[in-house]
């Protein structure tokens, strides 16, 4: 009963892509501009700031000269590794489908979701320790940037978890009950979800050195 839209699964000849692939890349282009706008704001504020990070450290109560005197680099490094690993499992789950290995898909997609949850748990610990020191977004402009950027990123992670969980659970019906065409459609969907997930990873790759290291 649904109207059949052309090139939902198969690529169009002259562009070489299907609709969903183009759509997700357009979405990612807009996301590039969203995070780009925030990065530009960060540069603007930091260049205009008198001191950076501009607050006392937790233990010595001297003015911090580096971000890592306030933020926990080990936790952030751990999170970087977790997110990169989840990106790998994500691409492996897609490769499993390409090899017609549904069990491999379930395993890798499950791992991706678990790693993403692990990322959020570590993040929660990080936030918790800041709040424990009575440090909040309003404390100063550096922390405002830190909380807003990492918070927005965490929202993106949460969105990714929801999408991936759907494809891990109820979404698999398309593969299990479907013909070859449906299976190709499902594989495309995983590829598209993967593109989004890798992008979330990519944003973190820039956030991490920018906020924690430099």
């Amino acid at each position: 009963m649904e109207l059949q839209i052309p090139y939902e699964v198969t690529p169009r000849r002259d562009t070489g892509v299907n609709n969903a692939k183009l759509g997700i890349w357009l979405f990612l282009a807009s996301e590039v501009m969203l995070f780009g706008g925030l990065f530009a704001a960060y540069i603007f504020l930091r260049m205009g700031a008198d001191a950076w990070p501009g607050m006392e450290t937790f233990d010595t109560h001297e003015m911090a000269t580096r971000a890592d005197q306030i933020l926990s680099v080990p936790l952030a490094t751990l999170n970087t590794v977790i997110l990169i690993a989840s990106s790998v499992t994500m691409v492996l789950s897609w490769a499993s489908l390409k090899m017609n290995n549904f069990k491999g898909f379930k395993l890798h997609m499950g791992l991706t979701i678990l790693l993403a949850l692990g990322f959020l748990v570590v993040k929660a610990f990080e936030y918790g320790s800041k709040f424990g020191h009575h440090v909040y977004p309003e404390t100063n402009i550096f922390l405002a940037i830190y909380f807003v950027l990492t918070g927005l990123h965490a929202i993106h992670v949460t969105g990714g978890i929801i999408v991936n969980a759907y494809f891990w659970g109820p979404g698999t019906k398309m593969w299990l009950n479907g013909n070859a065409h449906d299976k190709a459609h499902f594989t495309n969907r995983i590829e598209v979800a993967g593109l989004y997930w890798h992008f979330v990873d990519l944003v973190w790759i820039f956030l991490f050195p920018m906020i924690y290291l430099v």
Partner: protein, 108 residues
């Protein structure tokens, strides 16, 4: 990525993914290690940015298959990248220019 790949080709891809994984981990360690030394802000920024760009490129090229992606997608991304660079460049120069004005007014 073209839809038609043999299982052999996919397996070859998987091997590449694992290499990339290794490279990403190594680069993460390098960037953290460099930040431990008290490098002054200029070089530190350059090093961190270069490493982040390399890591980002690896993710985009291999995990997101950009290396073999179609032209239309390249155009989309290039235009976004171009506008983003314009934005960065103009934000920074607006700020620098303004600070010079403030400085002049201070002198006067």
């Amino acid at each position: 990525m073209a839809g038609e790949m043999t299982i052999e080709e996919v397996k070859k891809h998987v091997r590449v993914y694992l290499y990339v994984f290794g490279a990403l981990l190594a680069l993460t360690l390098v960037t953290v290690a460099v930040s431990r030394f008290d490098v002054s802000i200029g070089p530190a920024l350059v090093i961190a940015l270069v490493i982040a760009l390399v890591k980002g490129a690896l993710v985009a090229m291999y995990f997101m298959h950009l290396i073999s992606e179609k032209q239309v997608i390249m155009w989309v991304l290039l235009s976004a990248a171009a506008f983003l660079l314009c934005m960065f460049a103009l934000f920074i120069s607006a700020l620098v220019d303004q600070e010079q004005v403030a400085l002049l007014m201070h002198v006067a």
